[in-house]
Symmetry: D3
Subunit: 76 residues, 6 copies
């Protein structure tokens, strides 16, 4: 401990590397009386079929092209 | 937030659709001062090999046919 | 199991009652091969000081009156 | 409830069996006013690519052979 | 990691001591290639007002004296 | 979503502010196709009595002055 859990969409390994490294830098600065080595990060990857936003599956929302307005997905 | 996480067995996508829609309807009625769009649902699917009930793996319990009495599994 | 965890703001007991009852109704309809009695709901109440939205504490966002536009908080 | 969640690396089914059985024995001794059948264990298996220790992915750490000193991995 | 989280009712400190010690013994036997010191246990105490079983708050169920039959509460 | 949950010891509000802001900066850089506003952070504060490290309550470990060597606590 501390343990940081990130629930997000699937991401490639290089983004995982940046995520883990970046979150750890922040956490060790804040929890500065704890051994940095003890800070653990868990990345949880959720398929769009297993996430609901605004009452809809993210998978359905994307299929409808409505993702950009409400699902937390940025438009192009 | 609010974030609703459901730990359950694997289910087909149409059940996920109903689950996400139904939970969201309930939650938006209760958290009525929060934007409904901000309510997120995460469905976590757990294999029977990764769930223990009453000290036994659900997978073992089912293999023994004991599921219907104690594992939260309804009889036929 | 299934276990439903709701991470949200503090709410009064009558809302907890409605939340638990409503989520359970939905879940027992979806997980219809599981004993309804085995469905558990956990309500987690998070103080605004312990929630970050868009990089800010919800407590700070509310103090600034910015809550209604972005924090998932509906305007009056 | 009680619900015990174990976040760890992937393990074979016989270890899951021992884990679930052992944790349940402990929990039913402690929560001795709760029906033992109501105690649930969830095993979550995390790939080394999804775990960060000390700011590094466990997968990278292992590839470098540094696992034994700091990642919670015992040396041979 | 591994990290073991226990969601249960409030318990006194001596039970927490037994819980943490017992769960750790089990976990270190199972995850035998991991440093035992790296195994962390988190105890989460949930008020009966924040737990729903069978669609009812545990607090309400207990007030009605129905706890012993269905809420995972053993009879006297 | 994404939702970042941090399980750690109690911290003052200014550290929460830094934690939320810092984690959010990292996460929005990694999840760069998601609206930054949709990234939520939850801070969970755990009393030393509710955390077990190496089979002991953190509270007991600290009382014994053993915290600095193994509990993830840095020496003074």
């Amino acid at each position: 401990m501390p343990a940081i859990t990130v629930e997000g969409p699937p991401i490639p390994v290089d983004k995982k590397r940046r995520l883990v490294s970046g979150l750890w830098e922040v956490a060790k600065g804040v929890y500065d009386d704890i051994r940095p080595e003890a800070i653990v990060v868990l990345i949880k990857e959720n398929e769009a079929e297993n996430v609901g936003v605004g009452g809809e599956l993210l998978a359905d929302r994307r299929a409808k092209g409505a993702g950009q307005s409400g699902a937390g997905q940025k438009g192009g």
